[in-house]
């Protein structure tokens, strides 16, 4: 009875509040937006059905995580309102049991949260079926997924979170505790999964909200079929997660029950100071000093006093925040944690990095609004601190006294802002120290203190302060603490996800700006100026917000809107209007400068407009795609680069030849984007038929048609001048140090360029373009004719740049000279290159090596040149060695290297990748910082990657693949496969094993088995991991020489510049020729079907025979199945050769036992027994020990041998 009454009172009390319904509306709105803004787009691109159960589950977990903040308010209020309103004096004294009191309150909070979370199914229903979503992206309407997502996800989440939040608030007797728990759960949802993804089970269990696991079903580990039909049911690890957290929640509630006492909070603590006895105080005792007159000191007023008050108050508020448990102690802990994990996180693909300051900074610093790493946590802490600063006095009951003092509102506001700013300064100091110490501990680099200070306290602090001001502003204006938190978090969310909501211009997103970058090679480059202009604009806004906050600062009891507006009007006098005017002037001035840059100097296009432009291009010009065009055969450039002025002037000449069978009457030219192309003329009379400035397309009619075999010369001038900045920041191609630009972006392109088309199905539909696959089908014969920039050209360039910089271009450097303070370089190719090249100008440290073929003359030597960022020598040396080894191996196995140089050229950036153009391979700056020496796997990724990139000189540059499915198999897969050979032959089998293990790491990430066969390979996993392994497996079955022979044939049959272009089918044909009949099925299974083997040992025993030999009996299970791209599994009869390995016991100091036996056995489907006789005692038996066949569960392939003597 009592329980029911307690429950009913709490439930009805909160249900009647306006805030509760506001919360409901907010969850509804978020749900609606997540569906419409996020998943509807994916559905239009054909990835999912919008109302499939897993999408609804994903929407539910996302919204549950947002709900956490709201739930904190509900649970915290139910648990701690009595103490905060001091009603506990009455309720605690009532003859109520603890169980009824806590139980009633908890269940009421849970029930309220359940009601609030009903907004999720309601929101989904509205968004999917009542918001005009087209029927094509929806499956049939079903009630079941609404029920399962609500009862399996939302309700349990509410139970767990409410249990934690309620317990925290009940035990600490402060509603605040539940807010902190909510924030922790929020952060956990976003961080646990990425951290524990590799150990999937732990990730599944550790997150009470099941945020990561559910989202990863959608993104990676469910097949398309499952995504559209499968329900997220209570099974497997999901069930385990629910049960574990249900148990933990019950335990926590029980703990709370026992720990909680219905006594006054103060009474639980013993008084530290005993009251001194009152000594003979008579009734009319007059205090000793009372005879004295009262102190007559009066306050002084004026600006000086106000400044003194400002500084004193700032200090007091700062100390208040700093001393609280959620203050400096928390920040110190956070900084320690970050410093502690930094060495593990400063890596790429598992390889540690040399902790150079710029990369440490890149790891540590980020815009606050970037939902990445720990900064969202700092943002939510900032919101929390702001709430405390605004509310502390009022919650304590001191506000009336303080409000009646003569401190002006601006001091009250500004002192709090400064206190919050100081906390953030201290946080940055902690973080800086953490980064610095971590950098020193890792060692190998010298910290640049100046750069640390500049970026932390110059740049990052501005980000922090802008957001702090917004948080304070929201709290002042909203004037309701929890609603304030909620509004501030929503504001944060809308800043972070503005682009998803369709707001892209950074003039409209608070505090937004293009990011700055700093790398050792390029410095800040041109990235700082746009950052500063945008921030100046937002600082002006912040000033205006501050003025508004001062005007609406709550003082006294009257908090009705009318009263506050009236007060604000009254306060708008003195200097405030002037400050507001200055702020507005700043907004106009800086906003004007920004707008001039983004919208006048640059053509501001939103993502939608950019898509529309691509669609227009296709609409207008696709009809010309098959019009015969002359072929580019030779390029001659005269280039002047002015890095300081960020300017480039190019005079170019193209030699074009009609190699078609018909006369050509017109030339179609696509002009480079972001440059000015002028002076286009031919060495024949022409007429400009079309000049499309918007899309940069021109058509020239030739007065005299160009007959087959005839040639034509095209002259043009291209001018580039960096102009201010756009909404995305500045164009970082040409800058003081580290300039580079490519022909594909800047120079005229002949004919229609299919790569400019829209690929996403949804966008194509919106723009009325015919549906087509994003990548052309392997079996689309017409598509095989096309590859981007396939022409084989002779290239010559004469490039000038500022003295002190080096220019790199393809070909031999014929001559360098200086003239008028500028350096000039003359490059020319000795053999044709593919029409893809980059021109570089920077200050490099060059390491040179040489490679000479075994039989070639000295002139045939290849110069290996590493243009590295100065100061890093380890990796360039490694790179030279690897390039030499690679050239050795590839020329022997695949055919000659046609050029006389092979270069790696550094490009300033935080990235680690490469781009392998002919001769000159672009290497991102981060690659030079990789430190394989400290890799605990003992794996040298640098050497392996260089071998891979050099292989692209064959696979991609000599063999130019058609732009269809499976293109990755004959470029990336072949490159990795080739690199395996380099490591095996030149570095030793152990290195190959490490590379194989490295490539296999990717198998540990859970992913769906649904996929197209390798011949239609698409995506990273197939191109870079599965493909190379299939080739390796084949080489282990039929022999490496046979596979390499097939590759040689492939190259020979597809000489550069010939049509039709090679596809994976051509590779397959060569491999078929090389494979003996007995292994043709395996070849088919590896490449032509998406095959999985499920091999498992069941038991293994050994008996010692009389002569001392051992007889091993192995029982194993085998199964083979084919999975199609939607996820349908089909069992296939198995009759395959599989390796069986037997290993001796592990000796001390070894990782693995010695291999006693390795032979291929013919294994069929089902259970079978194999008997082997071995000379030594076996310890372990394994089916397919080298994992040559695709088996994603290798752990059951091993069995320990039971020995019977």
């Amino acid at each position: 009875m009592k329980f029911q009454r307690i429950f009913a009172l709490e439930f009805c009390y909160q249900l009647r509040r306006f805030a509760t319904w506001l919360y409901f509306g907010v969850i509804l709105l978020i749900t609606f937006l997540v569906v419409i803004a996020n998943y509807a787009a994916d559905a239009r691109d054909g990835y999912i059905l919008l109302n499939s159960p897993i999408v609804m589950a994903a929407v539910t977990v996302i919204c549950c995580v947002f709900w956490l903040v709201i739930g904190a308010s509900v649970a915290g209020d139910a648990a701690a309102r009595d103490v905060q309103t001091r009603m506990h004096l009455l309720t605690y004294a009532a003859p109520t049991s603890k169980a009824a009191y806590l139980g009633g309150r908890y269940l009421a909070a849970f029930a309220l949260s359940a009601v609030l979370l009903l907004a999720i199914p309601v929101g989904m229903l509205l968004a999917m079926h009542f918001a005009g979503v087209e029927a094509e992206i929806l499956g049939p309407f079903r009630v079941a997924p609404y029920l399962t997502t609500f009862f399996f996800i939302a309700l349990p989440n509410a139970f767990f979170a409410t249990a934690m939040q309620f317990s925290a608030a009940a035990l600490s007797r402060r509603a605040l505790a539940s807010y902190l728990i909510g924030a922790v759960l929020f952060a956990a949802a976003y961080t646990i999964w990425p951290l524990l993804e590799k150990g999937g089970t732990w990730g599944n269990l550790a997150d009470p909200m099941s945020f990561g696991p559910v989202l990863s079903h959608l993104s990676i580990d469910w097949s398309p079929q499952e995504k559209n039909t499968r329900f997220l049911l209570l099974e497997g690890s999901f069930l385990a997660n629910r049960l574990i957290w249900f148990g933990i929640s019950l335990g926590l509630l029980a703990f709370t029950y026992f720990r909680f006492e219905l006594v006054l909070p103060e009474a639980r603590q013993k008084r530290k100071l005993s009251q001194p006895p009152i000594t003979g105080v008579g009734l009319h005792h007059v205090p000793q000093k009372a005879a004295q007159v009262l102190p007559s000191a009066r306050g002084t007023y004026g600006v000086a006093t106000q400044l003194r008050q400002l500084s004193l108050l700032t200090g007091k508020f700062f100390l208040q925040l700093a001393k609280s448990r959620a203050g400096l102690p928390l920040l110190v802990a956070l900084a320690l944690l970050i410093g502690f994990v930094l060495p593990n996180n400063l890596e790429a693909k598992g390889v540690p990095l040399l902790p150079r300051t710029d990369f440490v900074l890149e790891y540590l610093l980020a815009p606050l609004a970037q939902p990445d790493k720990f900064w969202p946590l700092i943002a939510s802490l900032t919101i929390f601190y702001a709430g405390e600063l605004v509310w502390r006095e009022r919650e304590t009951g001191l506000s009336e006294i303080a409000d009646a003092t003569s401190v002006p509102e601006w001091v009250l506001f500004l002192s709090r802002f400064l206190a919050l700013g100081l906390v953030l300064v201290v946080w940055l100091a902690f973080l800086l120290t953490a980064g610095l110490v971590a950098q020193l501990v890792i060692g190998g680099t010298y910290p640049e203190i100046g750069l640390y200070l500049q970026t932390f306290f110059g740049l990052q602090l501005v980000e922090c302060l802008l957001f702090a001001l917004l948080a304070l502003f929201v709290h002042v204006l909203v004037n309701q603490k929890f609603v304030g938190h909620l509004v501030a978090l929503l504001a944060y969310g809308s800043i972070a996800f503005a682009s998803v909501l369709g707001i892209e211009h950074k003039l409209l997103i608070f505090s937004a700006s293009p990011g700055w970058t700093y790398t050792d090679m390029a410095g800040f480059g041109p990235t700082l100026a746009p950052w500063l202009w945008f921030k100046a604009y937002w600082m002006a806004w912040a000033l205006l917000l501050a003025v508004v906050a001062v005007l609406f600062w709550v003082r006294g009891r009257d908090v009705s809107v009318a009263a506050r507006v009236q007060l604000a009007r009254r306060r708008l006098r003195g200097t405030l209007p002037w400050v507001a005017a200055a702020a507005m002037a700043g907004i106009l001035l800086f906003g004007g400068v920004v707008f001039y840059n983004t919208n006048v100097l640059h053509n501001y296009t939103s993502a939608a407009e950019a898509a529309a432009q691509r669609a227009t291009y296709e609409h207008r010009y696709r009809r010309y795609r098959n019009v015969p065009q002359p072929l580019l055969t030779s390029v001659n450039l005269r280039v002047e680069i002015y890095p300081k002025q960020r300017m480039v002037a190019i005079q170019g000449t193209y030699w074009l030849v009609n190699n078609s069978q018909v006369a050509i009457d017109s030339v179609h030219l696509g002009m480079g984007a972001g440059v000015e192309t002028t002076g286009v003329h031919f060495n024949q009379p022409t007429r400009e038929l079309l000049h499309d400035e918007e899309l940069g397309q021109r058509i020239y009619a030739l007065t005299q048609p160009l007959r087959p075999g005839d040639s034509l010369r095209l002259h043009f001038q291209v001018g580039y001048q960096a102009k201010g900045f756009s909404n995305h920041g500045t164009d970082a191609q040409v800058m003081e140090n580290g300039s580079s630009f490519r022909n594909m972006e800047w120079l005229p392109v002949i004919g229609y360029a299919p790569y400019r088309e829209l690929d996403e199905a949804g966008a194509r539909k919106v723009h009325d373009l015919p549906a087509r696959p994003a990548t052309a089908s392997l079996y689309d014969i017409a598509a095989r004719r096309y590859a981007p920039f396939p022409e084989q050209i002779r290239f010559e360039a004469l490039v000038g740049t500022d003295a002190g910089q080096q220019v790199v271009a393809p070909g031999t450097l014929r001559r360098t000279w200086t003239k008028a303070g500028r350096s000039y370089f003359h490059y020319a190719t000795d053999a044709p290159i593919r029409n893809e090249y980059t021109l570089f100008s920077a200050n490099y440290a060059v390491l040179e090596g040489k490679w000479q073929g075994p039989s070639a003359s000295p002139e045939q030597a290849v110069a290996i040149q590493i243009y590295a960022p100065p100061g890093l020598t380890e990796n360039p040396a490694r790179m030279v060695r690897s390039a030499q080894a690679s050239l050795d191996y590839y020329t022997k196995e695949f055919g000659p290297y046609p050029h006389r140089q092979l270069r790696f050229v550094a490009h300033p950036s935080y990235a680690f990748g490469h781009h392998a153009a002919p001769i000159d391979i672009t290497a991102e700056e981060g690659f030079f910082l990789l430190n394989p020496q400290d890799d605990s796997r003992g794996f040298d990724l640098v050497t392996a990657v260089v071998a891979h990139e050099v292989a692209h000189q064959w696979w991609g540059n000599q063999l130019k693949q058609a732009y269809v499915e499976g293109a990755g198999l004959i470029t990336e897969s072949l490159a990795w496969y080739s690199a395996m050979g380099v490591l095996e032959d030149k570095y030793g089998a152990e290195h190959l094993q490490r590379l194989l293990r490295f490539l296999q790491e990717e198998n540990e990430t859970p992913r769906t088995r649904a996929a197209l066969p390798l011949l239609q390979a698409d995506g990273f996993y197939q191109n870079y991991r599965k493909g190379p392994f299939a080739l390796y497996a084949l080489s282990q079955y039929i022999g490496r020489d046979r596979v390499n022979g097939a590759l040689r044939q492939l190259l020979a049959r597809h000489r550069p510049g010939t049509i039709s272009r090679p596809t994976s089918l051509d590779l397959y044909r060569e491999l078929q020729t090389a494979t003996p009949d007995s292994l043709q099925p395996l070849l088919h299974d590896l490449f032509k079907a998406n095959t999985f083997w499920e091999l498992a040992t069941e038991a293994a025993s050994a008996n010692q025979l009389k002569r001392g030999a051992w007889q091993v009996t192995l029982t194993l299970q085998a199964r083979k199945l084919v999975v199609d791209s939607t996820g349908t599994e089909t069992k296939r009869p198995m009759q395959d050769w599989v390796e069986i390995g037997v290993f001796a016991p592990v000796k001390a100091g070894q990782e693995e036992g010695q291999q006693l036996y390795l032979q291929k056995h013919l294994i069929k489907s089902g259970r079978q027994t194999i008997v082997l006789t071995l000379p030594e005692r076996p310890a372990k038996v394994s089916v397919d020990p080298r994992q040559l066949l695709v088996d994603w569960k290798p752990t059951d392939n091993y069995s320990v041998v039971q020995s019977n003597r």
């Binding site: 530290k272 102190p295 306050g299 304590t396 009646a404 003092t405 003569s406 009257d558």
Partner: protein
């Protein structure tokens, strides 16, 4: 300025809350320097008036002046001379008295460190908190907290001191100590003390007003008001059952238990007869007379004329 103490004048001040409660209704008062008592039952509108005077609220209509200063429009200037002890206030439980007093001293413009130190020390001694100055405020008793509040209110030597129900909840010792403290003030300042305890006013105030349901019932000097009632208050010891009959026949202004019987005070210009005996009136009788509508300004006027 300091030499010419200024009074407070309140002109036709009305305030209605959003929930419809008319807290103040055309209130006008003239409050001279010195101690002024604002007497009224709970919910009479005392705190509303006090908060309005303390610049924390704005009236719907009417004006308030402290000397030349318009309290509504010149809040800053008023706050410079204001001391306010609200009816309810909290303290930071983990701060010491000294620390928090120092904080308020800064808020009140005592930014010079030496002056501030001198002032806070003096006030802590004055309020007899000197020994407890290092103690955390969380451990303070109600009286100690109240005295701390006075110390805060007295910071900066205010010309207008507003003390809202300061003695409610204090034990007799603390109350006396507190009133003693207040009595030190009020020579050159306006001190307004709101209370529902008549003795507070009678012991301290030179001027007073009685307020009920937003109306000022009486504005007077306690001594004069008591004098005006001389000969008009009568008492009788009676039984509880006969009380309704008495109330019908006479203007009963108060009835209280005395040793198990009921002692009734009756207002009557003439002898009410049968068993009533005259009483020397006190301020309580003034209060009850006013509350029951027997004592109006007119009465007082009449009484004055009689007295003259």
């Amino acid at each position: 300025m300091r030499n010419s103490p200024l009074g407070l004048s309140i002109r036709n001040v009305s305030k209605q809350y959003a929930n419809g409660v008319q807290a103040l209704h055309q209130v006008s008062l003239d409050i001279p320097p010195g101690m002024f008592g604002l007497l009224g039952p709970n919910g009479a509108g005392k705190s509303t008036l006090m908060r309005t005077l303390a610049t924390l609220q704005e009236p719907d209509e009417g004006q308030l002046f402290l000397g030349e200063l318009d309290i509504v429009h010149q809040k800053e200037a008023v706050r410079e001379t204001l001391g306010y002890l609200p009816q309810e206030f909290g303290v930071y439980p983990k701060a010491s008295a000294e620390e928090l007093l120092d904080y308020f001293a800064v808020l009140k413009g005592l930014t010079n460190r030496a002056v501030r130190r001198e002032t806070t020390e003096a006030l802590l001694q004055q309020t007899n908190l000197w020994d407890k100055r290092k103690q955390k405020l969380g451990g303070f008793s109600g009286g100690m907290k109240q005295r701390f509040g006075v110390a805060v209110a007295l910071l900066g030597n205010p010309r207008l001191l507003i003390v809202d129900e300061p003695t409610a909840g204090l034990d007799p010792t603390e109350r006396v100590r507190f009133l003693n403290l207040l009595s030190e003030l009020g020579e050159s300042s306006v001190v307004i003390l709101s209370t529902h305890i008549v003795e507070d006013v009678s012991e301290l105030c030179t001027h007073m007003a009685i307020i009920n349901q937003g109306h000022i019932l009486l504005e007077a000097q306690p001594v004069e008001a008591v004098a005006a009632l001389t000969g008009r208050i009568w008492r009788k010891l009676t039984d509880k059952p006969s009380l309704p009959a008495l109330e019908r026949e006479h203007q009963v202004i108060s009835a209280k238990l005395l040793s198990g019987r009921t002692l009734v005070h009756v207002y009557s210009p003439d002898h009410p007869g049968n068993g009533f005996e005259p009483v020397e009136p006190d301020l309580k009788d003034v209060y009850f007379s006013a509350m029951t509508g027997c004592f109006t300004p007119a009465t007082q006027q009449a009484a004055k004329e009689v007295a003259v």
